[in-house]
């Protein structure tokens, strides 16, 4: 009886297979497929105008985006349709639309880690010709900080998108604790050097250990009622864990992808970085670290649970600074993460090759990157990518609650340019897939499911699988003089 069903299913499957084979010319990847489908317009375009659909990270400064969109609509007579997509599905939703040639979105949002893949796989349009044609209208784009332009925009010598929001890493710490005389004296007595911003991850580990307090211990001379933790970590299975651990590895001089394209994650320095994270930082983090993303760490800071973060997104400053209102006597300071060889990245905006209105899309991008739009973005709490904005001292002093991290951000970005260090992995066409694998295996190491060595071996295997052998590293795009060796961060000169 069972056999009979199996046979029926087999016959029917074969029939369907034949049907599928017959029109395989119309499969998902047919590059010549016409893009006749009307875009996902929910509102009718204004008369004479066109509709531009923007796939944007959900809840992302929606107020600001809609305000800018309204102005652009009024100015051009076009219509902008903002489609919010949440981060866990942002990659797949956009790629699926793109490989199916639906033309649903004119403007795509990509993470810096996906840039190479999006560009290489044809999800993004090379913008150079359009930019040249637009001329002055697009000149605001030239002000993007060079560290971000290189990592987020460029691929094989061409421009594929524009970084509109940077989540470059630094770190946050409770400077009220760091400046407390008792704590300073105790720290120096215990570790033999003064308590200051950590310059190496070993120092950071010392400080994490030092500030771990059990109920009954004192902090700033007062008894603590609850556990207090030395560090807040984003060790959950989210992309953030890789930004934390990669920063340690890069500072160690290790690489995710070696220059020859082989995975570098099993190198001793790399495994040592993972080991430091798992065995010297994680024990001093709150128990929730294993499921935390950045927002939980913000919550831990705001509820007075932790003394500092590891490498952490500087753009979270407006949220972090609220701790000062919530915890009496608390002060929050931003600093570069140890060594400052950290995750330098941004969300980029690019234009889909399936877009029917690339010019209008570019016109909106230019509008978004205009001085005035970016200034309002900054005032509202966004982390701009324009050099003119992040180096504007007047802006920073006028908006201490939203832009207080800009000086640190600028230091970190400038250091990347000065030391000419850019991670290879941002120049591998399989970046989006490696990104996903890194999340999995770092999380496995952090959870203790695998040893650091074991997790890195599996990650190396997965990376080779994603690339189908050694990865292609297109770092020739970086040009002459590229030296993939981290240089020391000038702590003393900058007064840390």
């Amino acid at each position: 009886m069972l056999k009979k069903w199996t046979r029926i299913i087999a016959v029917l499957s074969v029939a369907a297979l034949l049907a599928a084979a017959c029109d395989s010319g119309d499969d998902t990847t047919a590059t010549t497929a016409d893009n006749g489908e009307t875009s996902a317009a929910t509102e009718a375009p204004a008369e004479g105008g066109v509709t531009v659909n923007w796939a944007v990270l959900a809840g992302f400064y929606t107020d600001w985006a809609e305000e800018v969109a309204a102005e652009w609509e009024a100015e051009t007579g076009n219509n902008l349709n903002v489609v919010g997509i949440d981060f866990p599905v942002l990659y797949e939703n956009q790629v699926l639309e793109s490989v199916s040639d639906t033309g649903a979105y004119d403007i795509l949002t990509y993470d810096v880690g996906w840039k190479a893949e999006f560009s290489e796989s044809g999800h993004l349009l090379a913008l150079d010709d359009l930019l040249a044609a637009a001329g002055d209208a697009a000149s605001g784009l030239n002000d993007v900080h060079p560290a971000l332009l290189e990592t987020t925009s460029k691929w094989r010598g061409q421009t594929y998108g524009l970084p509109y929001y940077t989540f470059t890493m630094g770190m946050f710490y409770r400077c009220d604790l760091w400046e407390d005389p008792t704590e300073m004296a105790d720290f120096e007595a215990a570790y033999g050097y003064p308590l200051a911003v950590p310059r190496t991850y070993d120092q950071m580990a010392d400080m994490a250990e030092f500030f771990r307090r059990a109920p009954g211990d004192t902090l700033k001379g007062e008894a603590v009622a609850e556990d207090f933790y030395g560090i807040g970590l984003m060790a959950g299975r989210f992309p953030h864990v890789q930004d934390e651990i990669n920063s340690i590895a890069w500072t160690n001089g290790a690489k995710v992808i070696n220059d020859d394209g082989t995975p570098g994650v099993t190198d001793p320095e790399f495994v040592a970085a993972v080991d430091l994270y798992v065995n010297e930082l994680l024990p001093f983090a709150p128990p929730g670290a294993g499921t935390s993303a950045f927002n939980e760490v913000v919550g831990q800071m705001q509820s007075g649970l932790i003394s500092m973060t590891a490498g952490f997104y500087l753009d979270q400053y407006p949220n972090m600074i609220q701790t000062e209102q919530l915890i009496e006597g608390a002060r929050i300071c931003a600093a570069p993460s140890p060594g400052a060889h950290t995750w330098v990245g941004a969300f980029g905006l690019g234009i889909s090759p399936d877009s029917e209105n690339p010019e209008a899309a570019l016109s909106f991008l230019s509008f978004l990157f205009s001085e005035s739009a970016q200034r309002r973005f900054a005032e509202g709490g966004g982390s701009s990518t324009l050099t003119g904005i992040i180096s504007d001292d007047a802006l920073v002093s006028a908006n201490p609650l939203t832009t207080g991290h800009y000086p640190t951000l600028l230091e970190v970005l400038d250091h990347q340019v000065a030391s000419n260090y850019i991670a290879n992995y941002l120049f591998v066409p399989q970046g989006g897939k490696i990104y996903d694998e890194m999340t999995t295996w770092y999380s496995a190491a952090a959870a203790g499911e695998e040893t650091p060595q074991g997790a890195m071996e599996k990650m190396a295997e997965a990376i080779e699988r994603a690339c189908g052998g050694p990865c292609e590293v297109a770092n020739d795009a970086l040009g002459a003089g590229y030296s993939p060796t981290p240089a020391p961060f000038p702590y003393d000169e900058l007064g840390y």
Binding site: W5, D26, E37, A40, D86, A104, N295
Partner: protein, 290 residues
């Protein structure tokens, strides 16, 4: 003799009250997440990420204001209602015809029915990309355009939910139709009714509790479904479950608005259950499980 009865009633009473205590504890456990969700939806951000969790707090409506104001939740509710009602209607009509046929005549000696049931076992993820392409292409045809079968249109989602609901619905209704005495239909046929009339006038009314329970479960499935809704819609046809997931934003998981949205997403089905509970139990009693 009298004493023995007395003793046993005391024992029964103790056992009876234990039964009620156990049930009360169970109800508390089953309700806790729902109550906590509703409580969270009225909390300020600082009360949400508080340690230990706050039980008494000053309620705020800010989360709801955000969900309905900035996140445009009203529109997603309308979409969800359209999709859930649409797919439930089709499932009930198409499913009851098939279930009746399987119950009465057993075409294909169980093989056709087994085939339909196997589609229920298919992992949705296996067919999502082909379905995406099908609806992309259907949307370009004139029929697809009229029936709103394209991507980001309610028709596509209605069809997808129908396909995944139909097997379960047929299975469920099948047993209800089996319980309709054949003699009653034959009596109707002798009276001069046609077969179709016998189906509508005799079989359908007698199987109605089962049809109702099938409709309720189909509706829940469609209302709560995430994977298809996420991939086949973008913005215009986005449903409430996808919108709830959208509160995992770059500014953090917005727990408050998310709880508010989840509450709004869950309340209609909760009311459904409370109102139709008797129906659900009666339907299941009469059908599937005997």
């Amino acid at each position: 003799m009298t004493t023995r009865i007395g003793a046993s009633t005391t024992r029964t009473r103790v056992l009876e009250s234990l039964r009620y205590v156990a049930i009360a504890v169970l109800i508390a456990i089953f309700l806790l997440p729902i109550v906590w969700m509703i409580a969270t939806s009225f909390k300020q951000p600082t009360d949400i990420l508080a340690r230990p969790p706050v039980i008494f707090f000053t309620p705020t409506f800010e989360n709801y204001r955000f969900a309905f104001g900035e996140a445009d939740f009203g529109r997603f509710i309308v979409n969800t209602v359209v999709v859930a009602l649409g797919s439930t209607t089709i499932v009930v009509i198409v499913g009851s015809l098939a279930a009746y046929s399987f119950a009465r005549f057993n075409p294909g000696n169980g093989n056709f029915m087994f085939f339909i049931l196997t589609t229920r076992m298919m992992p949705a993820i296996a067919v999502i990309i082909p379905l995406f392409v099908i609806f992309r292409d259907l949307g370009k045809t004139s029929i697809g355009d009229t029936l709103l079968l394209g991507l980001d249109q309610p028709g596509a989602l209605i069809v997808a939910h129908t396909v995944f609901n139909l097997p379960f619905a047929i299975w469920l209704m099948h047993s209800f139709f089996q319980d309709v005495p054949r003699s009653l239909e034959q009596a109707a046929l002798v009276d001069g009714s046609s077969r179709i009339k016998a189906f509508f006038r005799v079989a359908i009314p007698l199987a109605s509790p089962g049809i109702a329970v099938t409709a309720i479960f189909s509706f829940f499935f469609s209302w709560n479904e995430f994977l298809f809704a996420n991939v086949l819609t973008r913005d215009a046809a986005k449903t409430i479950t996808v919108a709830v997931s959208g509160f995992q934003t770059q500014q953090g998981i917005l727990w408050g608005p998310m709880a508010a949205a989840a509450t709004v997403a869950v309340i209609p089905t909760l009311i459904f259950v409370l109102v139709l509970q008797r129906f659900i139990v009666r339907g299941l009693t009469m059908g599937a499980i005997k």
